[in-house]
Subunit: 317 residues, 6 copies
């Protein structure tokens, strides 16, 4: 169950109307890396944790709920940046200015509505759930795969993209109040990143993500698919791999290697501390353990999501 | 700012796993008329009311927030209907049953994952933000047009569609716990419908939606675009219109009429109590009034969304 | 079967080319609340009425067909607003003006194609089935749910949104001919609204939409999900509800209530004239009646959509 | 302006309800190559022809209008294939059969709604504007590029795809009435194909599509991007090209050629009857001619789409 | 398996940064008729040819692979047109120019990012997989129907649209280097068109596309769905049809004809050299032949896509 | 420029046709986390690296190109799993089996095409660029943000999701050849993960992603948005943060804190080694450095993407 308070988490202000920057800010309202994406992604991931990992559930729901509040901050800022529009659209008999201190309706007849016409002809001067190009938000932006070693990594990436989007946005306004708000929201992405990272580090093992440890013959070669004279040799294709500690097998001419090994089916594993049987044993053991964590927390037969213990005092919000 | 409590608003339960009904329930999770649509629609509409109509803002945010809780109920139910799947997907070395008491992995090899394969290969046994056909949720489902006489009507329609969807869903399960939950959620749509209706009735005038009263020549004719011998004459094309109280002008042969009147430009208004000048006067007056309601509630220049009055005691959630 | 005549229903004219307003008008061509949406929504809803409610079928098809004609008017206007573009794009060896009296190709090299580049590089100077932001029309915009008490309410909302969109559009042009056309199209939405309303009023009962009358315990409470000191009490949460005439049960602290009633499962109905058994009886009776209306109009076994009675004289269009 | 008659162009019938085939037929209702796509594509293309090429406009509108009627035939067939569903969904107190002679509600509880759950929980037993996988129709399916030498070729391809879709559909039903209808609709695609082809043949020159004749150095080489020992040499890379009658220049080793010619900038044209100056002259002349065709048919300044000549007798539909 | 070389097929250059034209060029990067569409369409069609038509497979893969290289050329050009942006976005403490020789950050605060804000706030100064209106590329743009007589026709249309898009783009830049590149890419579409045409001509019979020859009663009439006094009679509705050589049966009043023939079920074929039995015999024979071509090339039971013959020398790229 | 060889990188085989698993495998062909997404994401990211970070460009293009080959492997496997379909769809006069050893056409009339009807009525028995639910691939799946510290993190997440998808797929087939192929492809994701990780580790500093170091007041608090009696305290909200090494400031009652600090504007930073001025200095320095890396590698004025040095010998593929 959710509650709402009328105060925003951060004191969002704007110095003056600015429809153009309102358009840019849509990127964090209804865009791929915006606050709706963040909130809905963590909310969705939380369902699978509810029984087996209640402390991760708590964290995911805390952050999902905070992000909803950020969505509200972004929306409120867009609404304030469009101040003047809604009222003036109502006064149908007048051709006065659309924004305080800014454009007249006459200007708009020739200029369009500050490049996002839907502020004028759809939302009537408020935010829209689309990105800065007018593309509506969609759930393809979010990821939840029922495995925390995957989901938390998805979140590290999501927070990184949200952070850079705020960084870029800050290059396009000089309204100091708006910059303050962007500064706050950007910093929160960095906080969340570290929270997700701490949670991931607390899961052992967490690599490879999921259960299967994967075939050492195929985890350890680099395929040089470029036809260059002077191939690049660097940390990602020489020395040992970052996590599995296998020696990189550099295939300079992949086609020759593919022909030689019957489509890699006869490739030999070398330079790996892992063997097929060690991998298989690990897969079995880890699979059993994870399955057990989940099963033991879920009653058989009839299910109920939560209890309602009246003794517990309702806590203050 | 939002908060979350761990208890669901309604005590959601399931009697047994049922992946097929989980698939159908997606319609209310990530479908066009589902709870995410409802919640985001009212949340989005609320921004434009924040300053001028704070009591409508309160109502929209209350219902938006309650619907978020309904989204959680639907998601929790889907998660419970998929009980068994997540754990069994982890136990990679086994080919045991996927759901408690139900299908074995062997069955699934041949049957797919109860018709929504993404429960198996994407979400790993949890809900997905798509409809029952796997189409991801998108913001095209929601409407907010910066005018309460329009937005509240959009909401009446949305609640009607949500209600019928629950009604249909109830035909496809016999799990009494799930039926109880659907019964609860369906009834809430009917409550919300009446709440929105009361709010619309409190706005005077509210028809036509928006400001313009519209040209009486064109509001009062019915165009019979069917080539039938025995045209239907009924309440929608004879007698007087429901709101503007104009006599219906029935055009039995629209093309003849269009030719006769130079593309309707020479059509005469008849049977209407309204005249061009009464309409124009009304437009001006109403436009001025609505504009004033909005402008008077919005400070000029620098804007701040809310205040933070420490004297006020935080209220209990 | 459909026919087409070369005359537009309304005498659409433009005073001069105006690519910017052409872009805005796309909102009513390929936008969510535009004429294609309206036409296809009523056309789709009509199928379910064909057998049981032929007079509603006639009305839905009349309006769907008229809206197709409106789509044509909007498209023709866009085409005229882009006058000059198509021809000039053909004259590849010249860098003359793109629009009559307006921009030169040189201007366009620096300015883009009046903000919708696809007029230049995709449609070659004609309309596009997308909204004013270039997002293609999609069938997610339309609703048809196989129940007239729902579908007609969807239509009231659709007409309201279409009306406000024309109202907004009129703020962004001063071409008197275009304003005339918008004025005509806007007024027709108001006519259709009242036609659908008359049809809905003719169905008894029509609330709640669908069959189920819904649980009186859950139709009559208001959930205050805001943490405010001074909750708003108004027509939507005090007194009696608009349709079911139940006393509003105001839950000021929903979480406390939820805990007290075991997730609302132990909530008592109060202040309602309806009882569980009266509701159940009503559900059965209404369900039977509606089912009978549909079944009795549909032959068993082999089906044929219509007959071809040569005796009937073909009517004039 | 459009009209509608109650009779379908073809006498659509079904032998019995069949929800599974109804799902397949959606491909021609709301699918990429279905009747809505066809109708809207020709309708959209027609706008650009209205002034300069009225006879092509007539053909495009005739076929667009006929295709609308085909859309109606497909929708009517789907509605008939779902006979029984709508009525039974209304009878909420019963768990009788959903379809006449077919599935019981009990079956559906376990089986889903014949694989397209939206027939059950969204449309209430009617057609949906989506394809056989439930993906909503969208305007990305259609093409109109403001040039008949392109548009008519798009139509040849569209008709080909529509034809093969009907051919495939016929493999999946044995209902003789449905087969008759598919047989009719499939044949019409073949008729339309030839109509569009005749129109294209009447335009001279029509290749290359558009105006530019294109650089002979680059129209006449074949790039063998495969690393094969025995390259395929066939009509598409040896002898002369089909339309421009140039000798194919076969590049067996494109990278070597690219290096040799400074990224093809120094490639020489050979084997072509065309020269840079003949091409340029042709471009200029053709561009001028096409521009003139368009300009001469379009008045300058104020525009009106059509006239309304009352003398003309309305023709019979 | 694919390889990449660092050299572009064509020596792409730009004279100076130009964010506006970069936006237009997106149409060929992530637009409906752009290079990604072309490449993926031919790649997808190739799978069905792999066994039965290896020489067509070779051609489709050659062109698909070349188009990938064109995608790279377009992307590289966009990247160069945005020169200056990425670096300047990094220098967060400065408000210097965004592009070399062009706009300052201050300009952008007021002007948005050259109309595609995502160049600024999403891609950080690089290409985006969307069209010129910011709509993301999607696979609905491409067609593959498992039949070469259809697929090759789809390709003729695709190449035609790609050609006209380049033609239009050339009207909007005067950068001679960019024009050179567009000139090259446009000419290649014309080359590919002729390659596909040659391949289609080599398939006999290739009309109607697919197997079914279609009912002569329905392939040979023209339906005049316009209510015009002076119907257009032209090559597409008089004389004989282009491919099947049937006499066009002109239905001037389709509704009368439909009523007369019981919904066309009693229509007689006239003027066709084809008869029902000749058609049926043809269908059977052609179906058998095509099925045999496919079956004979595909082993029964276990399948392997290709062999790895080490004897064969790897060829030079 | 790209090349193709006819051999797949891995020797893909199938034991027998299996349309149901073909449907599941679509998830890795046209699904969000499939091979097309991976390939296009790295390809897109590479453009921004081309000048300043050529060794990262090489890595990104190598992996993008390898992933294209994986897309081909997945497509080939789907094609083989559908063996029998294409041929049988051609033999229109027969109602024999659709798949070798499997279903007859009669079965399909009642069962649909193994749950993905488009294999039957669209692709004619080949792969489709959509996911396992029939939703077409779209570019919203991919991310490229012009900053390697962000892009490489996006890639770590993408590889994690691709890996788990293969892991899940392996639970749904028992065809040992298909399992071999999945095993290979899954392992490659783990290899790529480590390659991207090594690249990220080589960039210093790489946290926070982008340039801005962010406000220490806001990077270091945890907001407990849950109304729980016993809040969870764990590594993500106590002790020090993972990267910036700041002491977590736990806000147990965020609303109280928000009111106390005027919407957090008066919050004090505590427990951080960083100060506003240290942060600002760092931002400036890092911004300058990154900008310089990019600028110094990009010539001013005219640009050319690559050179064509004929002296260099073409290398073997």
């Amino acid at each position: 169950m959710f509650y709402h308070s009328k105060e925003l988490q951060y004191k969002a202000r704007v110095s003056r109307p600015d429809a153009r920057f309102a358009r840019l800010m849509l990127e964090q309202f209804g865009g791929a890396n915006g606050e709706l994406s963040a909130s809905m992604q963590y909310f969705l991931q939380a369902f699978a944790c509810h029984n087996p990992y209640p402390e991760k559930y708590d964290m995911l729901m805390d952050i999902a709920t905070e992000e909803l509040g950020h969505l509200e901050i972004v929306g409120a800022t867009i609404q304030m940046l469009l101040t003047g529009a809604t009222g003036n659209l109502k006064e149908v008999a007048e051709r006065g200015p659309i924004f305080e201190e800014e454009f007249s309706k006459e200007d708009f007849i020739h200029a369009g509505f500050a490049n996002n016409p839907q502020f004028g002809v759809v939302s009537g001067g408020g935010p829209i759930f689309s990105n800065s190009n007018g593309f509506p938000w969609q759930a393809t932006y979010i990821n939840a795969n029922g495995d925390l070693t995957v989901d938390l990594r998805s979140n590290l990436a999501s927070e990184s993209r949200a952070k850079i989007t705020y960084e870029y946005l800050m290059q396009f306004t000089d309204d100091k109040y708006v910059l303050d708000t962007l500064n706050f929201l950007m910093a929160r992405e960095v906080a969340h990143y570290q929270q997700f990272e701490a949670a991931l580090e607390g899961i052992k093992p967490n690599f490879p993500p999921g259960i299967y440890q994967c075939d050492p013959r195929y985890t350890s070669f680099y395929s040089n698919n470029s036809t260059d004279e002077q191939p690049v040799r660097a940390a990602w294709n020489k020395g040992r791999s970052t996590q599995l500690d296998e020696e990189w097998n550099y295939m300079g001419d992949p086609r020759r290697e593919v022909l030689r090994t019957q489509g890699l089916t006869e490739l030999k594993a070398e330079g790996s501390p892992r063997t097929p049987s060690s991998v298989e044993a690990h897969d079995k053991k880890l699979g059993k353990r994870r399955a057990e964590e989940i099963r033991s927390s879920t009653p058989k037969g009839e299910q109920c999501w939560c209890d309602y213990d009246e003794e517990r005092e309702p806590v203050e919000a």
